[in-house]
Structures are given as structure tokens and as C-alpha cells.
Amino acid sequence: MKRYSVFAIAREAMRHHTGWERAWRSPEPKKQYDVVIVGAGGHGLATAYYLGKNFGITNVAVIEKGWLGGGNTGRNTTIIRSNYLQDPSAAIYEKARSLYETLSQDLNYNVMFSPRGLLMLAQTHHEVRGYLRTVHANALQGVATEWIEPARVKELVPIINIDGPRYPVLGALYQARGGTARHDAVAWGYARACSAMGMDIIQQCEVKGVRSEGGAVTGVDTTKGFIGTKKLGIVVAGHSGQVADMAGFRLPVEAVALQALVSEPIKPCMDVVVMANTVHGYMSQSDKGEMVIGGGTDGFNNFTQRGSFHHIEETLRALIETFPMISRLKMLRQWGGIVDMTGDRSPIISKTPLGNCFINCGWGTGGFKAIPGSGWAMAELMAKGEPGALAKDFSMWRFKEGQFIDESVAAGVAH
């Protein structure tokens, strides 16, 4: 793999950029791998990357129905934060956030992690108490967050309407090292690094069946033929239920549509990410200048990647109330993704009824920010066959025990 650098660009510029090599290879599948990962989204690719990097397992195929990074990795609002309330969540999201800090250097691919700061506004007294609880929890979890007063909020976000009158801002939960990253680059960077380690990323290859013998997976039937494997990882977000079905087990997961939109680009006016959970809206400004806005989820199962428009309207009402100056901006593009929701809205990183088959799903509306941590934990689980500290609370059997990891208990919703 040729390294990317400003010098490489200068060199290539002289020959009209005709010398750049492929970022990743597009091989045909081999007959047999040590590990097959289904799903070349951020989580699947990160799993493969850390299998190689942390455990030296490189005889790996990542197979993808469409194009890599084309699912929720490429259609989210790119927010990165780890200000979660519950210990297991804070641990994995903080692991992810800290990996994001150096991911560009690790991958030699600029994923544009921008720790520009993230605010969760408190607009009711109840929310104030909820965020104070989170601040205390985070301090003990090693997650750097703080409570800030309204004046400081206004300083950080000059365009905000702090005075209400409907929902005056009473303060905010602030994570100074939260922020955003370039979503596509995360998938591409991991893919390039995996490919460089000799792993095969096989796009346009759909899994049609999972073969198993004596309680263990032997391989997968795909549109490119049978691919044998010693271990199988299922990392397919919204379609987890379908693949689990092929493997013969049922997941406590439902697929619903989540929507987002961007405005036309304008000059920089908001440097931080703002989430306003009382009124249900969140917004950041991309490096291109677009206001990136997240909407709510539908309440019904849906695989169309098209959500119901009234959620967009609700979100915009809330955001115009919070940021009155956006009223005359225009919605440029809106889209939806299929998110997989569990009973406690927290993910599953787990063994399955099949001994050598592992599942990573249920990230719901919050998956992008978790990618490096999720891949790290999943790689450990797959390499060792048992979950490490990061993954152990995210078992698919926790629901039976009533051992929830419920983040909705904090005043905030999870995005």
C-alpha cells in the first residue's frame, strides 16, 4: 500500500494523478477463510481490521451485498460522542471515540475526525437533573464531560435562541471532545487498510444461506458461490434478522426507518454539534457548510429506506424554534436508513446458538459513533470466542435476565 501524504499528492500532480493505485482490491472469493464477516459497513470492516491488527488474523473475507459503506455508515449524521449514562455504553462509546482520535493516523486515511464539541441542551428541570446525573456518571467512567450554564452555551453556539420563551435553555451537557467525522472515509479507510493486510473485500455478493453442521457454521452460500469459513461474523445492521434467520436463530431486533436531511451549504455559523432532546432535534454543520439534521424514527417495521415525512417536519419545527436563523435555509436532500432496534435500544455483540457464529447488531440510531469500539470488541469476541470486558454486557441473552442497558433513562435519547 502506497502511503498517502502531501508529498504523494505533489508527486502525482505532476503526472495528472495517473499513478494512484486502487484503494482496495476487488478480488473473487476464495474457497475457504479463517473468518468471514458478512457486511462491509463500518462495523464489519472495523471488525476485520482489528482482527488483523490486534490478533494477526488476516485470512479474512468481508462480503457485502451492495457496495462497501453503503448502508447506515454512509447515511447517518456522523455524530461522535460517548456521554452515555450506563457503564457498558460509556465504555464502548468512549473506546470508539478515543480510537477515532487517532484513526486517520492509524489508517493513513483522513477520516476528518473533528472533535469540535458536542452539546446536549437541557430545556426542562427534569432534563437538567438527568444530565447532571450523566456528568457524574461520566466522571467516574473516565469520560470527559461537563455541565455548562446557559451563558457558556450561547458563547459556544451564537446562533442559538437561549431564551425560549417556550423552552429556554437551562444549561447543557458538554463533551468538548465529541464531534463528527467524515462517514464515508471511515468505511473507505478501514477497507483500504484491510485490503492492504491481504483481506478480501467482496462487494456485490449477497449471502443466500448459512450452512452449519453439528451446531457450527461451515460457510455461507452467496451469489458468488459457497464460501467456507471457520468463524462467521454477522454485522449487517437492519438486515440482521434476515441473516440470523438463515443461520437458524431469532434476534430481539426490529428494523425501522430513521431519517436525516441536509440544508444547502452556508458559510460556517455553528462549530459544535447541538442536540436538543426535549424538542427532538439535532444539528451540526458539515465542512461543506450544510446543516446536517437528524430526524426521528418511525414506529413500524420498514425495510424501504424511506421514512414518514412528518418526522422531518417535527424535527424542523423544533430546530427553527432553537435556531431561528435557519428558517430561510433550504432542505437540499433528505434520506432514510434502516436501523435495527433492540428491546433496550442498546446493541448486541454476542455469541449465538451456533458455536463459531457471532453477531454484532442493534446499534439503532447510534451506530456510526461506535464503529471503532464495536469493531475492536467484536474482533476480540471472534478471535477469542468469548467476549472481553467491552462486549460482555451486550449479550443477546440479557433480555431474558432482565439485565437491560437502558440509555433512555437518561433525559436524552440515543442518537
Binding site: 500532480a13 493516523q105 475526525f113 467524515r182 462487494q203 458559510k267 419545527r317 427553527i320 432542505m331 433528505q334
Partner: protein, 1006 residues
């Protein structure tokens, strides 16, 4: 230079001059102009700078596909960035400023990017700015952010208002060209309810510009007649200035009506967002002309051929004196002819096809226009304005044959049907080799709620390329749609248009075909985002092979025009680079909206006072008049406290607590939920709903109850009163009335539907006043009308009667530990009763108190509060409420959930009181730390605060919280982790009984 012609102009009114300004320059246009036309009439071709290289940008198009000509429009509360001049109607006093440059449009420092462009290929930022690590956030990113962004950020609150409206129809026709009109006629005549939308102020589309002849008359006559006929049909609604923005499932269409964009400040809503529910949708949205990719095709003065004739014909604006036409099809010859007929020079038509036949070229030849067949543009000459073109063989590599001086280039690479509305809900496309475009595949339409076709495409939007074909297709598609709706189309003669013999177009994706790398790095695909042919080829070379990868890697088609001009050309270049056919490479997904929609319109009327419903109790106005500081509780507003002059909120709250404890407090408790549950099975039902037993509650008595969800977690609490043999009244928390009522109905309708139980939510029927404190009884006795003595109305009983002449129901219940009556009075009398209480109570020291005093008093008594002590993970047992859980019942909602391992564990955190050793208030949300760390290095914890206050009664901090094995640890000192102003600390506190005040309940029992 561009200028206004002496005569002509279909759409302008030369008698009505309108003044406007551009970059502070005062200019004149005519009523009927678009801003683009008016700018060109004033020789203002240069209107902006591109996104990445800050290249000079001129007007390219005449419609919503315009990628370049975006301006900052208006000022103050009417400032709007990124306004497309080609779709902005001119009005008197319009102010526009160009964007994305500094210090000026003519001289822009950012253009330095242009000179280093070769170092900034597609995706360059992924490959660099990696080291040193902190530089991305602190150095690189701020620079990139500043130079991107286009329009300025608005500063003020929007001065305009918006609204929304619902509409319903059988057939929604989008597009007011001849196809849309014909389709609307067919459907309207068949009796269908039709809505016809046209995004501009004018109907007729291209046909009226191009001088088409229908039924022997100019197309204008057809349009006028069609509009007249449609206007006469009661079942047809025709709307101009209304853009079909997006198609959503089940026939839902959003359309944006620009009501007052052209008459700002006239008091009407700026936009109206239509939410249309249509049986079927017919998209007659026309087609968009494609640019050609030749070097320098982004220099101001290079325009789309059809747009050039739009300016000439519609606005009598000549974009240039000498225009060279570059084409791969016959249609562009219409531009040459129109220019010539307007008395302008066309030095040459450069046609990439070597074989040029057809009627239009013949007419051009007869007008004496030089036609260069088999040739292409090697390069456009000029900087901020075209000065000429050099031409070459299309089949070659770009060796210059000749140079032709000109000041504009009119290009046409063919036409792409506007398939957006077809595609939004998944309609599929076919590649049409003849016309080199994607068009709707009728066999794979987007599907409706019934599984049938939801959208029909008609006219050029469906790939019908001549007027005759457009009319025939529109007629046929409308008939098909009407028939599918179960109606019968009326036989009628199809309007006649003479067939025109056009030569076949020839797909040209790069001009010349064998262009060298330096040329390709000057061929723009996406003008706004600065994506060039070389960028797409680079993406393909690097393995970004999927069209979505390429698009995202290069940003092709991601600009504010959403690739209306660039997508197909980019796709073709990508296919070429991959050596694949275009349909194999596929298309990108079309996302709503078709053109950008103002966010204000999407939010509609919901701003300011009506942003959200605000629920008011009957006493709301009194609270506001008496200076209450209110807090949102759900959609309600409740007084938090009633501060007096000079008091802080905290002081006011403490005064309210003490006054209530010592004298008399009055609380507006109207928001408490009140649900009647009645029927032979009501008792049995409530026994399932509550953890305790309600069926045995004697008539006239009250009982506190807890409700859990099926998981076992506590969800609501309140006092239940038995009204009669079959009737109970259930109180819920303030936020909980609707939720709990829905919960009851869910179980009654979906699980126990054979149980005879009716419910009614009567929350708003009653205003409720809590009369609290040692003097409470005195007040009631003074009001008079019923016996409220300890004997007649003991604790936890209720009685009907009158007080002060008001019909009331009095509940003897207490959430403060004081002698307390909650009095329900019909809401229509609520304000009067509340005032009567204050008047009569004055001599007893009556004061209103708010929610914060309420919270403190309940905490002093150790009463739990849903939402404070509970958070969705807490079971009643955690709160030592086992006494309210029946052991005898086989079942209640939540019982099974509570039997699960984790919930039945003896190690759960349980409710206790905490008192800081130093008497301070323990910080809200603090955790009790435990020794060591867990596997993830997080500090172990063993409990947390749920409520914490300064108790004015006890003059010290008190707190409730959950602690592992809590009740067994009374007296133990534990340590809280505190965190203030970024500093971590600890605070020691003693575990105590959570009932801090009047442990024996003597005060409430008097």
C-alpha cells in the same frame, strides 16, 4: 456582451420597469423577468464563484437546474442565501449579492485554489492533512470550512410566515407543459378530481418557447385553451408557482407553493406547503438539457442551448452578440435559428456528429449558418467571459483546427427526462440508447398501497421526444391512470402536431473523444462543486467503482442542484473509465426534494405561540398575572414558584414550603390525571393494572396505587378513589394521564376484550386545588357548605358537596405530609374557585405554591416521585414499596417481569435517605462510589442520588437515593463522587431513613 433586445419577450411587460440591485449596483428590469434574465439584460454574466476552486461562474441555465447562479437575496429578516436567480421572479426593490468570494466577485482571493487545482484532485483531503494530528481540527478544517459554504449565514429571525394545507385528488399531474395540460384534460374530462402543478408562473413548458404548432395554431393557443377548459371544470385545480417536491409512500406528495416570494411583505404566507394525497401521480416534469464535456466548458458565457433560446424568446434577452452552438443533436439548431431570427450572430454550429441531416440543420443552413460537422470544441477561450472557441475533430485528441471568436457558447449534449418523482419511491429506469438517457420503466413503477402502480410518467419525462409524441404519450398515460382509478376516459381527439424529422442524436460524453489528460482536467461535470472529468476517472482508477462511491469521493452531484446537469454525464464518464455500459453502472438514488425547499415551509405554521400546543389549566392566567415562574411539564406549564419582588426563585420556594408547613398553601393540581373506570369487571381490571388490590377498596375511600409496565418497571402512581359499586376514579401523574388512559384502553381492547369495563379520561373536566397546611380545614370551613371534619372526612376518604357555593368533590389525601384536601371543581369554575380560596384564605396565611415546593415537601416526607426516583429501570421493590404490592394476586401487569433474575436479585440498589455529614446539599445526580474499578477501568459504583434538596423545614440538605443493600445499611457513611466546574471531588454522607420529617404522619392525620 449580453443585452436586452429591442423587441419581443413573451413574458415581460416593457411598460413596467422594476428596479433592483446586484452587489449594490442599481439596475433595471421588467415585470415578468426572472432575476437571471434581468441580470443578463444588464450584461451581468458573472454571478458567482465555484465551491472549491473559486472559479468565476456565469449563468448556465434558465430553470431549476442552474448550478452556478446562486445569490444572497434580500436583507435582515428576509435574507436568503443560495437563491437561484433563474427561478427568482424579479420584483421592485429586489436586492441580490453574489456569493463565495472575498473581497469581491471580480477579484476573489480564493481563486488561488484554482491555480493549485492540480494539487487538489478529487478526494485529496482523504490523502493529506493527516499529520500532525491536532492540525485537522485547529488548522486545516477551519480553512476548509471558511472557503466552502457558498451563501452567507442568515442572522435574523425569519420575518415571514408559512403555512401548510392538505389536498386530495384522484390524479395529481406535476408539470404544466403541454404533456401535463393534455393529461389533466384527459383526467378532468373523465370526471377525475385532478390537481395540476406548475413550478413556474407560466404554463406551456418548452413547446411555447420553441414555437411548436398544435392543431395548426401556435402552442400558446393550445395552452390558453387548455387552461380555459380546465378552469371551467369544478373537479380540476390548477396551481402555478407550485413545485412538486417529493413523492412519498401511499400517494403522498409534498408540493411547495411560492405564494409571496415575488411580493415580499404583502402579508401573505411566503410559502405554502401542500400535502397532497393522490390516487395516482402523473409526472409530466419534462427533461433537462445536458452540458457537453469540453475543456473550459465552465467559463462564463458557456450556456445550455435551450436556455439561450429561453432568454431570447421569453425575455428578449440576448446572452451574447455572437454565440457558437455546440451540439450532438438536432434540437440545439433551434437555438441557432432563434438567435438568427432575433438578429444575432451565430458564427458556427459545431456538431459532433459527422452526418448531419434533418429538417432543423437544413433550416440553419438556409439561414446561412456555418455548420462544422464531426467537430468538437477543443477548448473555450476566455477567463471571466468567453472570448472564443478553438475547434478540433471530435474523433481526435484535440489538435486545434480553427479558432472562432464569440462571446457565448450554447451547448447541448441531449436531454435527460426528469425522473425524480418517478424514482423517489423506487420506480426503476431503463437506459434508452437512442436518446442516451434514462427513462421510466413502466413495467417497474413505484408501488402504491394496493400494490398497483403509483406513478405514471408522461411526455418528455417519459422519453417522448417530439411534440407529437409528447401529446400522444400524455394522452395515453393519463388514460391509463384514469382507467386504473376505475374511471372511464371520455373519447376525444388527440391534438395534432406535425411530425418533425430529426436526425438521430449521438452520445458524446467527452469532447473530443480522445482528449488528453490536461484537457480532461479542464472539463467540468459539476460546475458548483468543481468536479471534472479527470476527477471521475481518478475515482474509478482508485477503486471507487460504484456510482455511489464515485459520487461521494468526488462530490459529483452533491451540490445544491443535486446533479441535475452532472449526474448522467458523470455516470457516462465513470462507465467509460470502467469499460462498462452505462446501465450496468447504474444510477444514483434520487432523493426528495426535487429542488430545495425552505425549512420554514416544512415547519409550517408551527412557530412562536403555536410552535407546540401549550396546555393551560383554568388558573393559568391567574398564575401569569401573579408573576409565576413557570416550568414545562409535558405540554403543560406549571408554576415552579411565585417569586415576590426582590426574591430569588430559591428564596421564594423556601418561603412557600415554610408557609405551607406553618399556615396554608394552595396548589393548582389540575394537571393531575383523572380517569373514570367503570363496569362489572372494573375491579378485576384495576387489580391487573395496579400492583395492589383495588377491587376491595370500599366506596368512599381512597388508596395509593402503583402501575408497572410488563417488564415490571414502575411507570405511574396515584390515588384511586372508589366512587360506587362499579366505578373507580384513578389519579395519574401530571404527565401521565393520556399515556395511562391509552395503556388501559390497550389492554381492554387488545387483551381482555371480553371484560366489561369502560374508561373515560376526565382530566380536563376538573380544576383541582390542593389546600394544604395546618389551616386547611379552617379555609374549607370558612367557605362552608360541607362537613370536612376529621370525623366526617377522615384521611384517605372523599366526599361530594359544595364549598362556597361551588360543586366540589373533596379528596382527603396528602402529598406533603400536611393536613390536606384536594378539591375538584368543574373547570369552568376553576379560576373562580381558586380566587375564592385565596380570598377566604388570606386571613389564614394562604399563599400559592409551585411545583418545586411540592417536590421539596414530598422529599421531606420520603414520598417518591415518578421520574425522579424512577427512570424506567426501577421496580417498586427498589423503593421499599412492597407494601403496595399484593402478595395474594396471581397476576398483575409487571409481576412476571419482576420475577426475572436480575429484577429479583437481592443486590439491587434500594431506596434510602442520605444526609451529607457537613449538612450540605448533595449534588444532583451524584453516584456513591465503591472500591476499585471494573473490567473497563470505570470506577465501581454502588448507588446514586435520585432527589436532593435543601430542606427549609429542617434547615439542612436532604436527599433520597438508591443504594446497594441500602435499607440494611442505615447509619453507615458512604462516599459520593462529586464533579463541579471540571473538578472531581468526594462528599461523605450518612445513610438515613428517607422519611426526614414527621415520621409518624401526625400532621396529616389531624
Amino acid at each position: 456582451m449580453s443585452t436586452r433586445l429591442a423587441k419581443g419577450g413573451r413574458l415581460i411587460d416593457r411598460t413596467a420597469t422594476q428596479e433592483f440591485s446586484f452587489n449594490g449596483k442599481r439596475l433595471k428590469g421588467f415585470k415578468g423577468d426572472t432575476l437571471a434574465a434581468a441580470l443578463l439584460a444588464n450584461d451581468q454574466m458573472l454571478v458567482g464563484r465555484s465551491f472549491k476552486y473559486h472559479r468565476p461562474r456565469g449563468i448556465v441555465a434558465a430553470g431549476p437546474e442552474e448550478p452556478n447562479a446562486l445569490v444572497n437575496l434580500g436583507r435582515g429578516g428576509r435574507f436568503e442565501p443560495n437563491q437561484r436567480v433563474t427561478t427568482t421572479e424579479l420584483f421592485e426593490g429586489l436586492e441580490a449579492k453574489s456569493q463565495n468570494h472575498w473581497p469581491s466577485l471580480e477579484f476573489d482571493v480564493g481563486v488561488v485554489n484554482n491555480y493549485v487545482a492540480r494539487f487538489l484532485p478529487a478526494g485529496f483531503y482523504y490523502k493529506t492533512f493527516i499529520h500532525p494530528r491536532p492540525f485537522w481540527k485547529h488548522v486545516f478544517e477551519p480553512i476548509i470550512r471558511q472557503s466552502a459554504g457558498l451563501g452567507a449565514a442568515p442572522k435574523d429571525r425569519d420575518a415571514d410566515r408559512y403555512e401548510q394545507a392538505y389536498a386530495f385528488c384522484d390524479l395529481l399531474v406535476v408539470g404544466g407543459g403541454i404533456a401535463g395540460l393534455q393529461a389533466a384534460l384527459v383526467a378532468g374530462r373523465a370526471g377525475a378530481r385532478v390537481i395540476l402543478l406548475e413550478q413556474t408562473a407560466h404554463f406551456g413548458g418548452r413547446a411555447v418557447v420553441d414555437g411548436e404548432v398544435i392543431d395548426g395554431k401556435p402552442a400558446d393557443a393550445f395552452v390558453t385553451a387548455a387552461l380555459a377548459e380546465l378552469g371551467g371544470m369544478a373537479n380540476v385545480t390548477v396551481k402555478a408557482r407550485t413545485m412538486g417536491a417529493g413523492v412519498y409512500d401511499h400517494g403522498y406528495v409534498l408540493a411547495d407553493e411560492k405564494v409571496a416570494d415575488h411580493t415580499p411583505g404583502d402579508g401573505r404566507p411566503k410559502h405554502r406547503l401542500w400535502r397532497i394525497r393522490a390516487g395516482k401521480i402523473l409526472t409530466a416534469t419534462g427533461a433537462i438539457e445536458r452540458p457537453l464535456s469540453f475543456a473550459g466548458n465552465d467559463i462564463p458565457g458557456v450556456m445550455l442551448a435551450a436556455s439561450v433560446r429561453d432568454y431570447v424568446v421569453n425575455f428578449a434577452v440576448s446572452p451574447a452578440d455572437r454565440t457558437v452552438v455546440v451540439t450532438n443533436n438536432d434540437d440545439a439548431y433551434r437555438t441557432a435559428i432563434a438567435l438568427k431570427e432575433a438578429g444575432l450572430a451565430v458564427p458556427a454550429i459545431i456538431d459532433a456528429r459527422s452526418n448531419v441531416t434533418g429538417e432543423l440543420p437544413a433550416r440553419a443552413r438556409s439561414l446561412g449558418i456555418r455548420i462544422e460537422a464531426g467537430r468538437g470544441v477543443a477548448k473555450v477561450l476566455g477567463g471571466k467571459r468567453v472570448t472564443g472557441v478553438s475547434i478540433c475533430l471530435q474523433a481526435g485528441e484535440g489538435a486545434v483546427i480553427d479558432e472562432i471568436a464569440c462571446d457565448a457558447v450554447a451547448m447541448s449534449g441531449g436531454w435527460s427526462p426528469v425522473v425524480h418523482l418517478w424514482s423517489h419511491c423506487g420506480g426503476k429506469l431503463n437506459w434508452d440508447t437512442t436518446n442516451a438517457h434514462f427513462r421510466p420503466d413502466a413495467a417497474r413503477p413505484p408501488l402504491n398501497h394496493d400494490g398497483g402502480a403509483m406513478v405514471y410518467a408522461a411526455g418528455i419525462a417519459n422519453g417522448a421526444m417530439t411534440t407529437a409524441a409528447v401529446l400522444a404519450d400524455a394522452d395515453a398515460q393519463a388514460q391509463a391512470a384514469v382507467t386504473a382509478l376505475g374511471m372511464a376516459p371520455k373519447p376525444a381527439e388527440l391534438p395534432y402536431a406535425a411530425p418533425v424529422v430529426e436526425g438521430a442524436m449521438e452520445a458524446v460524453w467527452i469532447m473530443p473523444q480522445g482528449a488528453t489528460a490536461p484537457l480532461k482536467s479542464k472539463m467540468w461535470l459539476d460546475y458548483q462543486n468543481d468536479v471534472k472529468v479527470s476527477d471521475v476517472q481518478l475515482a474509478a482508477r482508485e477503486g471507487y467503482e460504484s456510482v455511489e462511491h464515485t459520487k461521494r469521493y468526488t462530490t459529483l452531484g452533491m451540490a445544491t442542484d443535486q446533479g441535475k446537469l452532472s449526474n448522467i454525464n458523470g455516470l457516462a464518464v465513470l462507465a467509460g473509465a470502467l469499460n462498462e455500459d452505462i446501465p450496468q453502472v447504474g444510477t444514483t438514488t434520487f432523493r426528495p426534494p426535487y429542488t430545495p425547499v425552505t425549512l420554514g415551509a416544512l415547519a409550517g405554521e408551527a412557530r412562536g405561540e403555536i410552535f407546540q400546543p401549550l396546555r393551560r389549566t383554568p388558573m393559568h392566567a391567574w398564575h401569569e398575572k401573579n408573576g409565576a415562574y413557570m416550568e414545562p411539564v409535558g405540554l403543560w406549564r406549571r408554576p415552579y414558584t411565585f417569586p415576590r419582588t426582590g426574591e430569588t426563585h430559591e428564596q421564594a420556594v423556601h418561603r412557600e414550603v415554610l408557609n405551607t408547613r406553618e399556615k396554608l398553601g394552595l396548589l393548582d393540581a389540575s394537571t393531575l390525571g383523572k380517569i373514570i373506570v367503570k363496569g362489572p369487571d372494573a375491579g378485576r381490571f384495576l387489580d391487573m393494572l395496579y400492583t395492589g388490590v383495588m377491587s376491595t377498596l370500599p366506596i368512599g375511600k381512597c388508596r395509593y396505587g402503583l402501575m408497572c409496565n410488563e417488564q415490571g418497571f414502575l411507570s405511574d402512581d396515584g390515588v384511586v378513589a372508589r366512587i360506587d359499586e362499579e366505578t373507580w376514579l384513578c389519579h395519574t401523574t401530571s404527565g401521565g394521564a393520556d399515556r395511562i388512559h391509552a395503556w388501559m384502553e390497550d389492554w381492554l381492547q387488545c387483551e381482555w376484550w371480553d371484560w366489561k369495563v369502560y374508561t373515560a379520561n376526565v382530566t380536563e373536566q376538573y380544576a383541582q386545588v390542593a389546600v394544604v397546611g395546618p389551616n386547611a380545614r379552617k379555609l374549607l370551613e370558612k367557605l362552608g357548605g360541607m362537613d370536612v371534619s376529621k370525623e366526617a372526612l377522615p384521611f384517605m376518604q372523599w366526599a361530594d358537596g359544595t364549598l362556597g357555593g361551588f360543586p366540589v368533590r373533596v379528596y382527603r389525601i396528602s402529598f406533603s405530609g400536611e393536613l390536606s384536601y384536594e378539591i375538584a371543581v368543574p373547570a369552568s369554575h376553576g379560576a373562580a374557585f381558586w380566587e375564592a380560596c385565596h380570598k377566604a384564605g388570606a386571613e389564614f396565611g394562604a399563599m400559592p405554591y409551585g411545583t418545586e415546593a411540592l417536590h421539596i415537601m414530598r422529599a421531606e416526607k420520603g414520598f417518591i416521585m415518578i421520574g425522579d426516583e424512577t427512570d424506567g429501570t426501577v421496580i417498586p421493590q427498589d423503593l421499599n414499596l412492597d407494601w403496595a404490592i399484593s402478595k395474594k394476586k396471581d397476576d398483575f401487569l409487571g409481576k412476571r417481569g419482576q420475577q426475572r433474575n436480575h429484577l429479583a436479585s437481592p443486590d439491587r440498589w434500594k431506596l434510602v435517605g442520605f444526609e451529607a455529614l457537613d449538612g450540605s446539599v448533595i449534588p444532583d445526580g451524584a453516584y456513591v462510589v465503591d472500591s476499585g474499578v471494573n473490567g473497563n477501568g470505570q470506577r465501581n459504583v454502588q448507588g446514586r442520588i435520585t432527589s436532593t434538596y435543601f430542606s427549609p423545614t429542617l434547615k439542612k440538605g436532604i436527599a433520597m437515593g438508591l443504594l446497594k443493600h441500602g435499607p440494611k445499611r442505615m447509619g453507615e457513611v458512604v462516599e459520593f463522587g462529586t464533579f463541579k466546574n471540571g473538578v472531581q471531588g468526594t462528599l461523605k454522607a450518612r445513610v438515613v431513613d428517607p422519611v426526614f420529617f414527621d415520621k409518624d404522619g401526625e400532621k396529616q392525620n389531624v
